[in-house]
């Protein structure tokens, strides 16, 4: 069965902390994505990666960076967390350029 896992379901951090969110997929997918989801705003793409060490900005990359050193792992980094980054973060992966995306369970991040 296809699986995308995220390192934490819930995370509480303080303003200014560096935060790492990890995502791992076991499907040998080329593409991986990080979204944030806020009530009434749907899913907004932060970054995506179509190959190891490759990354592309999405719609809201400010305040975030990503790392993809291995095909199965895609990390989202908040260099200095702020309260407006409190949100649900969803990781996804896909095989081709227009294929369905498979999602992890999400990480609910609270920044105090």
């Amino acid at each position: 069965d296809v699986k995308v896992t995220q390192s934490s379901r819930y995370l509480v951090k303080r303003t200014g902390e560096k935060v790492f969110l990890e995502c791992v997929q076991d499907m040998d997918h080329e593409n991986m994505f990080w979204y944030r989801q806020d009530p009434g705003l749907g899913l907004r793409l932060i970054y995506f990666s179509y190959d190891v060490k490759m990354k592309e900005k999405g719609d809201i990359p400010e305040g975030y960076s990503v790392s993809r050193e291995k095909k199965e792992r895609f990390s989202l980094i908040l260099e200095s967390a702020s309260t407006n980054q409190t949100s649900m973060y969803l990781c996804a992966s896909s095989l081709g350029t227009a294929d369905e995306q498979f999602f992890g369970p999400g990480t609910r991040l609270t920044v105090l």
Partner: protein, 112 residues
């Protein structure tokens, strides 16, 4: 510009009644179309997808959707809803550049 519109933010339906969730898209080429469901606190799960062929697509959990090119629509239907269908539903279009374009979602509320 490419876009997906889900005109209903909330829909309330009685248990056992039929359901139709609307999705309209704006996309220049033949789209790849998806419906996802998100149960409270969970990631997104694919309900069904349309790539080509028969315009009536069957999905999981008794859902179906019909692609109507002339109306740029891909509405989701279910003949009889169950309380467990209460969730948020997202329509998405495959843009052919690795990304999906997402609607804002429709929250389905089931009345007993």
């Amino acid at each position: 510009a490419q876009s997906v519109t889900q005109p209903d933010i909330h829909i309330t339906v009685s248990e056992g009644a039929s359901l139709e969730l609307r999705c309209n898209y704006s996309y220049g080429a033949t789209p790849y179309l998806f419906w996802y469901v998100q149960s409270p606190g969970q990631g997104l799960q694919l309900l069904l997808k349309y790539f080509s062929g028969d315009t009536l697509v069957q999905g999981i959990k008794g859902f179906e959707a019909e692609f109507k090119r002339s109306q740029s629509s891909f509405n989701l239907r279910k003949p009889s809803v169950h309380w467990s269908d209460a969730a948020e539903y997202f329509c998405a279009v495959g843009a052919g550049n690795y990304q999906l374009i997402w609607g804002a979602g429709t929250k389905l509320i089931i009345k007993p």
